[in-house]
Amino acid sequence: MAALIEDVLAEAERSGPGGLRSIHVEKPLELQFDLGNLTALDSNPLKPGSFRQDPEEFLRSLARDNTQLLVNAIWQLPSERQNEAIVAKLPQPTTRIPREKALPKTRPPTRWEEFAKLKGIQKKKKSNLAWDKEKKEWRRRWGYKRANDETKDWVIEVPETADPNEDQFAKRVTAKKERVAKNELSRLRNIARAQKSKVPGVGLAPTDQPSKVDLSKAIHVAKAATASVGKFQDKLPKEKEQRNAGKKRKFEPLIGDFSAERQKQLELLKIMSNKKPKLDLTRAVNRQLREDEQEEAAKRRKMHPKGRQGGKGHNQNRRKGQGRKPTTKQRGNRK
């Protein structure tokens, strides 16, 4: 055993510079270190001849030399002892690494932001603290132990227009809940709009005082909320029919088939002309009366060639007696 160790040590002494190589490495150009990323950049030109002779050996020695230099550089850094290990403090990395993911897209503005931009409303910065009148001290504007906290009111005045038996405290609580729900709905709608996903169109934010428009919309929504989608629901006496309910209308393409369009229009014209009664009663009666009038005029001309009275007087008297046309709406100019 001892003889073996001696043999190994003697062997190492004999190899000397060839065996265990030293920590000193000679390089014409210094390496560039990025110790933050634990990298070293070797700009030394390669000797093409030595690579071709023995590529494996060349590469191994090159790697060994460069690693040695890197480790030397790391040993140069300030080190400290942490849990029985010596740790070197790495500096900030110097090489810029490109982003892994793309830059985040700017969020599309919400409905309020668009409105504010349109109107030119600026965001007013509010301070964190507000003055609490009762407690006479500065408290935070919102949150735990806030100033002017409405929920901590121990008495609420009943307004004159309100029902005396109504619970004002409960009213405040429900109002707050409704506001929160409405805000949540707006928030979700903004998100949905930003992601261009579908939002249910049947939504009416609950309001305290619904306007006329809100009420009519609520009526239509409620009417359609039956199994047959409101087809058999009776209409209220003054209910206005909804013109474009929900879905977007679909129109023919702008430059469609012109001949098809023409055909449809001609058919429509044919249907319209068929619907019109061929024998218009009024016109028939008018025509008949006109003929009678002409006959009368001709007769009178024969009888009185010179002293002809105005046909008007005679005809009118005659016409009063007879049954007049049934459907003309006279405007009172009848003599």
């Binding site: 129109f251 023919e252 393409p253 702008l254 430059i255 469609g256 012109f258 369009e261 023409r262 449809k264 229009q265 001609l266 429509l268 014209l269 319209m272 002309s273 218009d280 009024t282 016109r283 008018n286 025509r287 009366l289 006109r290 009038e293 008007k312 005809n315 009118q316 003309t328 709406k329 006279q330 405007r331 100019n333 003599k335």
Partner: protein, 180 residues
């Protein structure tokens, strides 16, 4: 810009039929080219296919007018005929009214036609029939609605209205801004 729906086409044809009767098919089907009706901002335009294809290159908010404007649809879907349609109504009109030279100016200022201003009227015009108003020189001046049938026109007193004014050529100057 879009083609008219069935409902809108029906309303348009009903209105036109009041003035030109069954001659609408001469407007729909023409020997000298394909013409069609298109709706843009509630106005109905009668436009040839060639011009229509050119107009598709203009954006909706920049497009003012194309072809001939026949009229517009009101918010409650009633069709109102404009004076710009006169060029297409006049040749096909079924019932015409000729107006005396003195009353021409009055009509062109927007007044109704009285019996005293009436020159000629087509025989067998029914009451409330759509008529095209001409001057004595056969120049179309506008259109209106017959307040009295031809029969009644003969018997009524001279100060009575015989034709209700609906549109006249003077509107090109009076309502320049609203016509397209």
């Amino acid at each position: 810009m879009r083609p008219l729906t069935e409902e809108e086409t029906r309303l348009l044809f009903e209105k036109l039929a009041k003035y030109i009767g069954e001659n609408i098919k001469l407007l729909v089907e023409r020997p000298d080219g394909t013409y069609c009706f298109r709706l843009h901002k509630d106005r109905v335009y009668y436009v040839s296919e060639k011009i229509l294809k050119l107009a598709t290159n203009i954006s909706r908010d920049k497009l003012v007018s194309l072809g001939t404007c026949f009229g517009k649809f009101t918010k409650t879907l009633k069709f109102r005929l404009h004076i710009t349609a006169l060029d297409y109504l006049a040749p096909y009109a079924k019932y015409k009214v000729w107006v005396k030279p003195g009353t021409e100016q009055s009509f062109l200022y927007g007044n109704h036609v009285l019996k005293s201003g009436l020159g000629r009227i087509t025989e067998s015009t029914a009451q409330y029939q759509g008529v095209v108003v001409y001057s004595m020189a056969d120049i179309p001046l506008g259109f209106g609605v017959a307040a009295k049938s031809t029969q009644d026109c003969r018997r009524v007193d001279p100060m009575a209205i015989v034709v209700f004014h609906q549109a006249d050529v003077g509107e090109y100057i009076r309502n320049e801004d609203t016509l397209t």
